[in-house]
């Protein structure tokens, strides 16, 4: 939140970023916001700060004009990036537990809004009891019965 004071006492935070779980030894938390150094931003979320915006793979998100202080700040000789504000920018769901310093980020808008908009079966990779990994896509050429069940 913009009104929160910036408490520059780093904590050890856990960031669940879609499939990645990363422990960040020097994170700063201000209310609903999580600030990371640029190397930690890359480790946790795969993002890099570039002149054209915040980039990952082929995607670059420009930061809104005139609002850079919401996303970036200089503190203790280090540049900090507000991953929570960025999540709001890209319509990424976010949940956090302050006692555990644990932050859970879901997919960005362009991923979750594109889900199931065609009848193409979403691919996934999971392991069996022996730890062998299988991907749905490797069964191309066969008919597949995909059955979700549970013990509960």
């Amino acid at each position: 939140m913009a009104t929160q004071t910036f408490d520059p006492t780093p904590v050890t935070a856990t960031v669940l970023y879609q499939d990645n779980v990363t422990t960040i030894a020097d994170a700063i938390e201000t209310g609903d916001d999580l600030w990371l150094t640029l190397p930690a931003l890359h480790r946790a979320g795969g993002w890099e700060l570039k002149p054209q915006g915040v980039c990952r793979d082929q995607i670059c998100i420009p930061l809104p004009n005139g609002e850079s202080s919401r996303y970036l700040r200089q503190e203790q000789g280090e540049q900090w990036f507000n991953l929570s504000a960025f999540a709001r920018l890209i319509e990424q769901p976010l949940a956090h537990d302050s006692a555990h310093h644990a932050w859970s980020f879901g997919p960005p808008a362009w991923e979750w809004k594109a889900r199931l908009t065609t009848r193409q079966a979403p691919d996934f990779t999971l392991a069996d009891l022996q730890g062998r990994a299988y991907s749905l896509s490797s069964f191309h050429g066969k008919k597949v019965l995909l059955a979700l069940w549970a013990s509960w």
């Binding site: 949940a95 079966a121 999971l126 749905l136 191309h140 066969k142 019965l145 069940w149």
Partner: protein, 213 residues
């Protein structure tokens, strides 16, 4: 249990380029699912999904949820609440779900000409679109799963409750969370009663099998 029946139909139809993939939506992973899988002795991929990734990707809200996927990776029948075994309410006897298995046999033989396939609109309406509350609930559910795995059950319950409030008709989130601890103490819910409450029937679509293809 359903898994031995899925295994049997897999063996029966394997020569027709047919495969079964089962996915256990279980936060406790192998600890919860292994005994059922081992009892079925499967020759097909029997996968374990502790973070409910597949339920998230396919927008399912309860189990069972069964999808037919064709040779091109297209969903041709969606979100069936298909139990492989059904219990006769009069005799209490459990029998394989023959109408559903026959529908599968028909698909294995006739492919795109099978009358059991859903058209594109039906597939799309049976799956639905995710909205902001869905994905926000997923972020809470994922965090609850992490906190549970870290051993803090109370912190996990708080996150699961948020997921339940955001998506009251997601029975995966409810039934999974109730099962991890004491549903009465943690959620004020009698799980058995909740499942049988006509005012809050677990979300399941009609199976919708044509009787005479």
């Amino acid at each position: 249990m359903d898994l031995p029946v899925w295994q049997a139909i897999r063996e029966e139809l394997a020569a027709k380029a047919f495969e079964v993939i089962t996915v256990a939506e279980d936060t406790k992973g192998a600890e919860a699912a292994a005994r059922y899988i081992q009892a079925a002795n499967p020759t097909h991929p029997s996968l374990v999904d502790p973070t409910h990734v597949v339920a998230e990707l396919y927008n399912t809200r309860n189990v069972p949820a069964v999808f037919w996927i064709d040779e091109e990776g297209r969903i041709v029948r969606a979100n069936d609440p298909a139990f492989a075994v059904r219990r006769n309410p009069e005799t209490g006897e459990s029998m394989p779900n023959q109408p559903y298995l026959d529908a599968l046999r028909n698909w294995a033989d006739k492919g795109a000409d099978s009358p059991y396939l859903h058209n594109e609109d039906t597939v799309s309406s049976r799956i639905g679109q995710q909205d902001w509350a869905d994905v926000q609930a997923m972020a809470h559910f994922r965090l609850g799963t992490y906190l549970y795995q870290q051993g803090d059950e109370q912190a996990a319950v708080a996150q699961f409750k948020q997921a339940h409030a955001l998506k009251p008709n997601n029975w995966n989130y409810k039934r999974q969370a109730w099962n991890l601890g004491d549903a009465q103490k943690d959620y004020g819910v009698n799980a058995q009663e909740a499942r049988n409450d006509p005012a809050a029937q677990p979300f399941r679509l009609p199976l919708d099998l044509p009787l005479h293809p």
